[in-house]
């Protein structure tokens, strides 16, 4: 780890790529792009070890100086935290600022403040060492707890320690990360992201994290290009190394060659112009050249994301994953009223556009907080299978959703259906609830559309039977791909075989759409495939009526929709269905997009 003086030395050299070892080749690290955009600049390696504290004692003469050093650091930390809290409140609203407010209170907590002063005055510890000693004591207590909540609070205390120590050492927080740098870390917290964006960093990459982790959502909300899951990136670079961060493709390029650099500089410039143009698209309809319209909707997991809908022009929520509410609270017994309050708030915010509530989809990779374990959870007790077995989970949720329907349009989506009977059972439960609500004088919408997730091949194959019983289909391409190709995408040994564009998956989509359109119901698609603009013409050609994705991706999808001709996408889909494997489909899409000049690269080229 670099010492402070080394760090200062490096900072003065930042932005000068010539510093690099000329023999070091370009190194490309692949990850997951979670917030789009291109950043080019010096890396800033952010590591906790930078704030390591040594055991140090002071002399009696230094005592007053040490105490006032501590006072100053506390005052500055307090100012930071108040600032971060207000940024968090303004950008994300709600409870997102509470942790920073609590950290600010901790600064003056007698358990911390008085104890640190005591260690300095009586034990002649340095302020750094005194803080670490006190905080360590509390962290040990918290870490020993059975409660996950308390163990997380131990991390909050470590955050606070780092903050005070930084102020003790440098006198100002400005050096936490350098402005105009790309922050590289093993792991960052949502708080880090808020703070860094305020400092004006260019982007961030980290070893851990997934596209739905809170830190990724925060990066998207703050429009900060971000790549996660870059296994081991921190070991490949140093602070000051010039890097390129590609949040679109999910890639970090270390020591880029002159050629790569030139390409990306131009690409970045065009992307900026593109973003500007995309903003103009927000109020326009998602309509092909020949007047065929598609509904672009948002996948939402946290209430904090609701404000992004308007910003990116989402016309409603195509998928609200209700289990996230339960997982966030880490408990299974959210009451009907608690759920109702949340659903009502969402429906009121999103209205007049519809909100699609997918009822609890526990099981699979989302562990049910019931301590239940299975050998093969993806083929086990999940989604509707759990709900029908556990009325105590299902009934309060359906009641809460139905009551919320009095406040704005909503649809109900049933996950993991495989048999018609599950739909009949679900409807029976719903009818019973409707009678009961009516008897109690509760208000709810007369007709609430009920749809099913098409994520098991069996449902796609029986789509014509299901189409007669439901009001809409929603194709979940992530699971449909796993189940069709028998590939667990979380398994590194086979994850390269996880191909959403495999013709088998496309055939199932086609069959689903045909069955739905035969009886006049709509098909939505809400897997990750929906977020990929390269696939947009194909999905249009297959006849999908609605695409639902993380809001930030919608403007680019809309740009593609508005650049294509429906007739031509149908021909593209026919060709894709005849391909032998996913690689052929990808090549076909690439050529087609290029030929029709609607891929990002050609669009950006035209623009120059």
């Amino acid at each position: 780890m670099l010492s402070d003086s080394q760090h200062l030395e490096l900072s003065t050299e930042q932005g000068t790529p010539e510093r690099h070892d000329p023999f070091a080749g370009e190194l490309v690290i692949e990850g997951i792009g979670v917030a789009p955009g291109i950043a080019i600049g010096p890396a800033y390696l952010y590591a906790r070890a930078a704030f390591e504290v040594e055991e140090r004692h002071i002399t009696r003469e230094e005592l007053d100086k040490e105490l006032s050093r501590f006072e100053r650091a506390v005052a500055k930390s307090e100012r930071d935290l108040n600032k971060i809290a207000s940024v968090a409140k303004e950008k994300l609203g709600g409870d997102s600022s509470s942790i920073f407010e609590a950290q600010a209170l901790m600064l003056h907590d007698s358990e911390l403040y008085d104890a640190v002063r005591e260690h300095i005055e009586q034990d002649h510890m340095s302020a750094d060492y005194a803080i670490q000693t006190v905080i360590n004591k509390h962290r040990q207590l918290l870490n020993a707890s059975d409660s996950e909540y308390l163990r997380e609070r131990a991390n909050d205390m470590l955050d606070l320690q780092d903050r005070i120590v930084r102020h003790l050492r440098r006198g100002k927080l400005l050096s936490v990360v350098d402005a105009d740098s790309i922050v590289i870390a093993e792991n960052l917290t949502a708080a880090d992201i808020v703070l860094f964006s305020r400092r004006g960093i260019l982007g961030t990459a980290m070893d851990y994290g997934g596209s739905t982790s809170h830190v990724s959502i925060m990066a998207r909300a703050l429009s900060l290009p971000a790549v996660v899951s870059t296994h081991g990136i921190t070991s490949h670079l140093q602070t000051g190394d010039l890097i390129i961060l590609d949040g679109l493709e999910g890639r970090v390029i270390i020591h880029p060659s002159e050629k790569t650099l030139a390409f990306y500089r131009e690409y970045q410039e065009r992307y900026r112009r593109l973003q500007h143009e995309q903003k103009q698209l927000v109020p326009l309809p998602a309509e092909t050249i020949d007047g065929h319209s598609v509904r672009l909707m948002a996948n939402v997991e946290f209430k904090e994301e609701l404000k992004l809908l308007k910003e990116y022009g989402a016309v409603g929520i195509g998928l609200f994953r209700t289990e996230i509410l339960f997982l966030m609270q880490r408990r299974i017994n959210l009451s009907e009223d608690e759920q109702f309050a949340t659903y009502k708030q969402i429906v009121e915010t999103v209205g007049p556009h519809p909100v699609t509530f997918r009822v609890l989809d526990f099981g699979g990779d989302k562990m049910l907080p019931l301590g239940h374990r299975e050998h093969n959870p993806f083929l086990g007790w999940r989604g509707i299978r759990i709900l029908l077995d556990k009325p105590e989970l299902m009934v309060p949720q359906i009641r809460a959703i139905m009551r919320a329907s009095a406040y704005g349009p909503l649809r109900i989506l049933i996950p993991m259906v495989t048999e018609l009977n599950e739909v009949f059972e679900f409807r029976r439960v719903m009818n019973g609830i409707a009678d009961d609500l009516r008897a109690n004088g509760e208000d709810f919408a007369d007709s609430i559309p009920i749809g099913i997730m098409v994520e098991v091949p069996a449902v796609a194959l029986k789509a014509h039977r299901f189409a007669a019983e439901v009001d809409f289909f929603s194709i979940g391409t992530n699971d449909l791909t796993q189940y069709t190709l028998a590939v667990d995408r979380g398994n590194d040994l086979v994850s390269d075989k996880y191909q959403e564009l495999d013709p088998a998956v496309l055939l199932l989509i086609k069959q689903t759409v045909t069955a739905a359109h035969d009886v006049g119901i709509k098909v939505s698609l809400c897997g990750e495939l929906a977020a990929r603009p390269q696939a947009t013409p194909l999905l249009l050609g297959l006849g999908v009526d609605e695409l639902s994705a993380s809001p930030v991706y919608l403007p680019e999808i809309k740009r593609v929709v508005r650049a294509v001709n429906m007739e031509e996408t149908r021909a593209l889909a026919d060709d894709a269905l005849c391909c032998g494997d996913a690689h052929e489909v990808k090549a076909l899409l690439k050529n087609w997009m290029h030929k029709h000049a609607c891929d990002l690269a050609s669009y950006l080229e035209q623009d120059s």
């Binding site: 509470s98 609590a102 901790m106 358990e111 509390h138 409660s147 308390l150 609070r153 609270q329 708030q345």
Partner: protein, 89 residues
């Protein structure tokens, strides 16, 4: 000395936000304030203390106030618990 029994009614228990509210409110009064849960007692004016209580929904707490303004302090803190810390119920 004033002693009050309260029950944690808000759904997520005494998590970060309610804990902050308790400490902020208690700090407005001069009286000493302690919270007891089972056999564990903490200083109610300490955010670290209140958070380590890890009081979940349904937990019964005993609040002790001692000082000139103990009655007013007890009312103010009890009111926070009764209102469920302003969470939507």
């Amino acid at each position: 000395m004033v002693v009050r029994e309260v029950i944690v009614t808000n759904r997520a228990g005494l998590h970060t936000r309610p804990a902050s509210m308790i400490v902020r409110t208690a700090s407005k009064f001069d009286s000493d304030f302690f919270i007891q849960k089972d056999s564990y007692e903490i200083n109610g004016k300490s955010i670290i203390g209140v958070m380590t209580l890890a009081a979940e929904q349904g937990a019964t707490l005993s609040l002790t106030f001692e000082g000139e303004d103990e009655a007013a302090a007890a009312d103010a803190i009890a009111e926070l618990f009764e209102s469920g810390f302003g969470e939507v119920k």
